[in-house]
């Protein structure tokens, strides 16, 4: 009997060890990627990288200023097209969403978040690029907005549901109409949390490449308008990474460092915000 017990304990310990090992194994790639991007990218970051246009093949120097600007443009457009509808749809689901229709919306949002980003690229291509006959920042922005939409909607809904019912009742009890109660009491209470969710959604779309390949496309020059093909950091990284030139590889690593820096800052900031809020409650 005693022997069996020690055998059981042994199995238990082995499983615990394996779980610990698995966690370590899952985190190794993260460490490796961060290490490679930092050590190879840091050398390529100089003033020119942030201020100059890319040089043609064979010429040294140049930078990625247009791609940086392009990424800001595209993400800005995505926010413009994606956040207001997402938040309002979330408000609908949380405040009025008790019917079958709301179930359908919720379900569509969940399903949409699983749609491969490359197919969203095809969708926006047929919807916008084919009709306007041009790759454009608009098309890229719409593609990223479609990617953001389900996340923003579901986050907003979840956070609005956390707002205590008593707050709603208090506002309504003071004679405020429901729309004002929702906007200036409920939504306001949940705003920091929603902002956090939006930051995470932005971090995600800022690094998306696939949906931009045939919507925003690429451009070697300064953006001159939103109806023009527009360069972006992820697409530029891809183009440079698969090219045969060492100089371009170096630039790809540097751009990757900038991109991953942006994404990490957004993620860490979102996390700090959440923790701060939890503590102050």
């Amino acid at each position: 009997m005693k022997e069996r017990y020690s055998q059981r304990k042994l199995v238990d310990a082995a499983v615990r060890g394996l779980c610990l090992l698995a966690t370590g194994a899952a985190l190794i790639p993260l460490g490796l990627v961060l290490y490679y991007v930092t050590s190879r990218g840091i050398g390529g970051l100089d003033w020119a990288f942030f201020t100059e246009l890319p040089k043609p093949v064979g010429e040294a120097g140049g930078g990625m200023a247009n791609a940086l600007l392009g990424t800001l443009e595209l993400v800005g457009l995505a926010c413009l097209f994606g956040i207001p509808p997402g938040v309002l749809a979330g408000v609908y689901l949380a405040e009025f969403g008790q019917h079958r229709f709301a179930k359908l919306v919720r379900f569509s949002a969940d399903v949409m978040s699983g749609v491969p980003s490359i197919t969203i690229g095809i969708f926006v291509y047929t919807l916008i690029v084919l009709r306007t006959k041009s790759f454009s920042a608009y098309a890229g922005g719409v593609a990223l907005a479609v990617l953001m939409l389900p996340t923003v909607t579901r986050t907003t809904e979840e956070l609005l549901r956390l707002v205590p019912e008593s707050l709603r009742e208090a506002a309504l009890g003071l004679g405020v109409p429901k729309w004002r109660a929702t906007l200036s009491v409920v939504l306001r209470t949940a705003a920091p949390g929603i902002a956090t969710g939006i930051m995470l959604a932005i971090a995600r779309v800022a690094g998306e490449t696939a949906p931009l390949l045939f919507t925003a496309f690429n451009n070697a020059f300064w953006p001159t308008g939103l109806a023009q093909p527009t360069a972006s950091l992820p697409v530029q990284i891809y183009t440079y990474a698969v090219s045969p030139y060492d100089d371009w590889h170096q630039k790809a690593w540097a751009a990757a460092l900038v991109l991953i820096g942006m994404v990490l800052i957004l993620n860490v900031a979102a996390r700090v915000l959440v923790r701060h809020r939890v503590r102050s409650r």
Binding site: R16, A25, P116, T119, P177, T182, I237
Partner: protein, 312 residues
């Protein structure tokens, strides 16, 4: 109604209407996606018919479109990714819910989530310059020497190929599977856990005989969600899989995936049939991921609303 004092506020009606409008938008966008893709794919469906799915010859110049190499590459790389990622992700989920001391849980789960935050193109860049050379010089020779009797591990060591693709995908879907399984494990009532432990189970026995059976359908759901991500993943795998339309049993050989061929050829596609063929691949991906997502969500949802008697 108005007479009875239920005054209708015009602002309320407007507000509700606007919110409902945007809610409808989500459904409409999803519907529009399906319709647009189908319309775009129609020339190819008319041109190739069933040959599209079973044909192995992809030659746009001769208008011959057989997508089997892409379907094969997508399936093999995704299944390989699941083979690697599922045990690791479940280990992570169990570690985070059942074993880790509370102070360690949130930093570790944050790090695992960061894995999902790293952009796909950066995994691809790392794959080209770090993972593929490592596979070519170390892992593939090693596997060839020890397991070379299996056809899976034969052939020249190139670095770029199915194995590289599967590993990259595994890294990328680990956070998905582990975070959903973690939620599922957390939804298992504590009373079950406590009951099993009070009867003298070790942690492992409680897990094996009580917690996992309860969470099984949710964990299957998590794995299906991971599969859905792996099937649709584009950039990283395009950069490491080698992009060749051969069907080879060896994991060392280069392959091609459905998402990769869209990424590589879509902007160069001339003619309705060629463009339609790529759109049809997109449509297939869309349909498959849609079905997987529906099934997965239903499974995960079932654990959340288990019978009342089982609740604590």
């Amino acid at each position: 109604m108005a007479l009875l004092g239920a005054e209708v506020n015009a602002g309320d009606v407007l507000f509700r209407g606007v919110a409902a409008l945007f809610a409808i938008t989500i459904v409409l966008v999803l519907g529009a996606m399906a319709i647009q893709m189908w319309v775009a794919a129609r020339p190819s469906i008319a041109h190739s018919g069933w040959r599209f799915i079973v044909g192995r010859d992809w030659d746009p110049v001769r208008d011959s479109f057989g997508a089997l190499p892409f379907i094969y590459g997508t399936l093999v790389s995704s299944l390989l990714a699941l083979g690697i990622a599922v045990p690791i992700s479940l280990g992570v989920a169990v570690f985070l819910t059942e074993l880790a001391p509370p102070w360690l849980r949130s930093p570790v789960s944050f790090l695992v989530e960061l894995l999902a935050a790293v952009p796909s193109v950066i995994y691809g860049l790392w794959g080209i310059f770090a993972l593929a050379p490592f596979l070519r010089n170390h892992l593939e020779p090693f596997l060839g020497k020890t397991l070379g009797f299996l056809p899976l591990f034969q052939g020249p060591h190139q670095g770029f190929g199915m194995l590289a693709g599967g590993i990259i995908l595994a890294i990328m879907i680990t956070p998905t599977i582990s975070s959903v399984s973690r939620e599922v494990l957390r939804a298992v009532p504590d009373s079950l856990r406590e009951g099993a432990l009070a009867l003298g189970s070790t942690r492992w026995e409680a897990l094996r005989h009580t917690i996992l059976p309860y969470a099984r359908s949710g964990i299957v759901g998590a794995i299906i969600l991971g599969l859905g991500r792996a099937l649709g993943e584009t950039m990283a795998i395009t950069m490491v899989i080698g992009n060749r339309t051969d069907i080879s049993v060896s994991l060392f050989a280069p392959g091609y995936t459905m998402a990769s061929v869209i990424a590589n050829e879509f902007t160069e596609a001339t003619g309705d049939v060629y463009l339609g063929a790529l759109a049809e691949i997109g449509l297939l991906l869309f349909a498959v991921t849609l079905i997987l997502n529906v099934v997965a969500r239903l499974l995960v949802w079932r654990v959340g609303r288990a019978p009342e008697g089982a609740r604590g």
